[in-house]
């Protein structure tokens, strides 16, 4: 069972959370070429290893969180707020 340490609520079971998506994607400008929009909407890095992603504490404080989790081991190494970044902590 994964546990996510919510900055507001403390450590909770992941069944309280719903998964968002890869948190490293950024939307291109509105007038960017379709090629870039295609990459943004459909293509993913899908890394095997450390993954930075959004989780929603849906059955808790309802805050969106940013989480760094290993996609091989499910180990969670960092949890922060959406505007924060794991490297800023270390």
């Amino acid at each position: 069972m994964m546990r996510i340490n919510c900055p507001y609520c403390g450590e909770r079971e992941h069944s309280e959370f719903t998964y968002g998506e890869d948190a490293t994607r950024t939307a291109p400008d509105n007038d960017a070429p379709m090629e870039e929009w295609n990459k943004f909407v459909y293509e993913r890095d899908n890394p095997a290893g450390e993954h930075i992603e959004y989780w929603h504490h849906a059955f808790g404080c309802r805050a969106w969180l940013k989480v760094q989790r290993n996609t091989f081991t499910h180990d969670i190494s960092w949890v922060g707020l959406p505007h924060e970044h794991p490297e800023a902590e270390s």
């Binding site: 998964y19 295609n38 459909y42 993913r44």
Partner: protein, 418 residues
């Protein structure tokens, strides 16, 4: 190696079964092949078999990093069906059904294909209406489909809770009578043995570490057993597609997710066909050995771990017990997970490219097993002719950019939702 037949079995039985030979060779990799297939799963093996059988290309190597039958082909719930809605999918999967029917004869290997029927249960009038639409669409596409009343559902599967006060009473159902199950290991072994007999080299414990390029063209692969060159390299590595494509700097429209499956202790005949619960996500059938095999949703987060977490485990079991309360008396024997290539529209990709010399077979979400023969058939055609077969012409990689997604559920680019 010879054919498997009744005479053969009797002859060997009289000699204490000491003279059976291995089902396929264990060759050292050569330095050069016409075609390399990366991935010795069901799809890779089927592709090599059809390359040899239908296209006369026998100088083929299958490179498998583990062992034959150890990946997703051994981790599924063995369901075979073609109850799709969209034009891009229906003919492909229905062709697959035709291949399933003749597979045992074709491969000279008993794959235990059992068309025992796939029944989806509706719990409301509106759900029943969508099933009627699905059944009509299937029949227009030449696929067998029947609508069932509540009584017919309960007659087919008496252990379903048919009481009026159950949480989700049965309203009716839809049946694809010629769909069913096949023995997953036998499919892998059958294709492996048949491909080997046609001259294909099956090389296990051979992991592809990188690609060898000449200019902008792929001319081979680097493996832990040395460099191997080929004119054409096909990738059929569902679960690891993104990791392999990354070595070429390609980002795929794929996320990796884990799907859990379960089997109980063997029990007397209990469930006649394949049944799916309509008020949650639960599908179940009973193996010939008696184990009740079932599964549900993917866990819903990116992962490469071949194991899931308990919340989905609990959710799947809860769905099953709501539909068939008596299952609560069975002991669970095993639970396992397989890594799925979840694509952005829920449909697969079988295509030429995107680099010269490379061919792509990926994105099977959690419907890869049933597609095994059709996927191999079409991928072999695509590799041999450098263009898609009529049946997989919709499964292009550039369909996302062009706006021709094949989204059965209408979920959009959210792989966890397909």
């Amino acid at each position: 190696m010879g054919q498997y037949n009744a005479l053969n079995i009797a002859w060997n039985a009289l000699r204490g079964h000491k003279n059976w030979q291995r089902a396929w060779r264990d060759p050292e990799p050569k330095s050069n092949y016409d075609v390399i297939i990366i991935g010795g799963g069901g799809h890779g093996l089927a592709t090599a078999y059809y390359l040899a059988k239908n296209h006369g290309i026998t100088n083929v190597a299958i490179l498998e990093k583990g062992w034959i039958g150890g990946g997703n082909v051994g981790r599924n719930t063995t369901i075979v069906r073609s109850n799709y809605l969209l034009d891009g999918n229906s003919p492909f999967y229905e062709h697959g059904m035709n291949l399933w029917r003749d597979m045992a004869q074709d491969l000279n290997y008993n794959v235990m294909f059992s068309p025992r029927g796939v029944m989806n249960i509706a719990h409301t009038k509106s759900q029943y209406d969508t099933f009627a639409r699905r059944a009509n669409t299937m029949r227009l596409n030449g696929i067998q489909a029947e609508l069932l009343s509540r009584d017919e559902v309960l007659e087919r599967e008496p252990i379903i809770d048919g009481s009026a006060d159950t949480r989700f009473p049965v309203w009716g159902g839809i049946l694809q009578p010629d769909a069913g199950n096949a023995r997953h290991d036998a499919v892998a072994w059958g294709y492996a043995r048949a491909a080997d007999q046609l001259g294909v080299d099956i090389i296990q414990n051979c992991e592809v570490i990188d690609f060898i390029k000449q200019g902008e063209r792929i001319i081979g692969v680097k493996t832990n057993r040395g460099d191997i060159h080929a004119d054409k390299v096909g990738m059929a590595v569902a679960g690891s597609s993104s990791r392999l494509a990354q070595k070429l700097g390609i980002r795929l429209p794929i996320e990796s997710h884990v799907l859990q499956a379960f089997v109980t202790e063997p029990y007397k005949p209990l469930i006649n066909g394949v049944v799916t619960f309509g008020a949650g996500h639960f599908y179940v059938s009973q193996s010939d050995k008696g184990g009740v095999v079932f599964g549900g949703d993917i866990d819903g987060y990116n992962t490469y771990a071949q194991r899931g977490n308990l919340p989905v485990f609990e959710d799947v079991i809860a769905g099953g017990l709501t539909m068939m309360p008596c299952l609560s008396r069975l002991k669970l024997l095993r639970n396992w997970g397989g890594v799925m290539d979840m694509s952005m529209d829920g449909s697969p990709i079988i295509d030429v490219g995107p680099i010269d010399g490379l061919y792509l077979n990926t994105g099977w979400c959690y419907g890869g097993f049933k597609a095994t023969p059709a996927s191999g058939y079409c991928f072999a055609h695509t590799i041999a002719n450098d263009e898609a077969h009529e049946l997989n012409k919709a499964y292009t990689l550039d369909r996302f950019a062009k706006g021709y997604t094949i989204d059965e559920k209408g979920m959009g680019p959210y792989p966890k939702a397909h």
